[in-house]
Amino acid sequence: MSLKRLRTKTYLLLALMVLFGSLGNVLLSRGMKETGEILDFSPRALAGAFGKVFMNGSIWLGIWSLLVFFVSYLLLLSWADLSYVQPASAIGYALVAVLGYFMLGEFVSPTRWTGVLLICAGVVLVGRTDPSPSGRGRRASQQAGAPGEGHRGAELETLTLPSPRGRG
């Protein structure tokens, strides 16, 4: 895979991570607010609160969003460096502040704007480096005829997992 395609793939998954990570948190927060503050901590009241939380649509949407976030994170880490993914995904913080300002008319203090700028500058710098200097990402696409690469990724394409349920 060319570096360009690898970058495209990396940006796509970073975008999914940022989008579904923030969406998940917002939905969970909305769901918890809808179910109301938990004031009574007796086992019975807690059980009732749990029931209410898990009947809430926003909570489930939030959980699914966070699952999509986590799967994107796992996929991304299969070829990209952690020292690339971790700082790059911080763009989400900046995005949330900017969206809050433009879409919700929230007040953003000068300190927070400075933070937004620093994060953006940092992400630009990190983004200039190769996401996968070891070349793992590029090897993966050429794996078909490349035995002995020592990576389990090579197996992945040809791997047939036993299907316990015998589909069809």
Binding site: P87, G115, T129, G137, A140
Partner: protein, 121 residues
């Protein structure tokens, strides 16, 4: 002193979780983004011990953060957790043997400062 100890626990367990998950995913190697490849990737990933160790560590980090927030000042604790970015880069370099170029270090430091500032208010 107790505060510093607890913040360190939050940062270290969270970062250790990321490192463990990253270690597991590196063993699998790059995946193409077709539905069947993603499905097989997940089936393989969830069989890996390091992934579960990572998830357990991340959960520990998360619950320690919640516990810490119940008695400590949010405006101090949350910005301080931005140090995770620096801890993560160190872990990636020394434990995962990633090559962290100077440009990337600079980026990590800026992000760390930025996240600290943004969560200050």
């Amino acid at each position: 002193m107790r505060l510093v100890l607890f913040i360190s626990i939050v940062i270290l367990t969270g970062t250790a979780g990321d490192l463990a998950v990253s270690h597991a995913m590196k063993q699998i190697g790059g995946v193409s983004l077709t539905p069947s490849a993603i499905f097989r990737f997940l089936a393989l990933a969830f069989q890996m011990v390091w992934l579960w160790i990572g998830i357990a560590l991340m959960a520990t980090g998360f619950f320690s953060l919640l516990a810490l927030l119940s008695w400590a000042d949010v405006s101090l604790v949350v910005p301080a957790t931005a140090l995770s970015y620096v801890a993560g880069a160190f872990g990636a370099k020394f434990l995962l043997k990633e090559h962290v170029a100077p440009v990337r270090w600079a980026g990590v430091l800026l992000v760390c400062l930025g996240v600290a500032l943004i969560s200050l208010s």
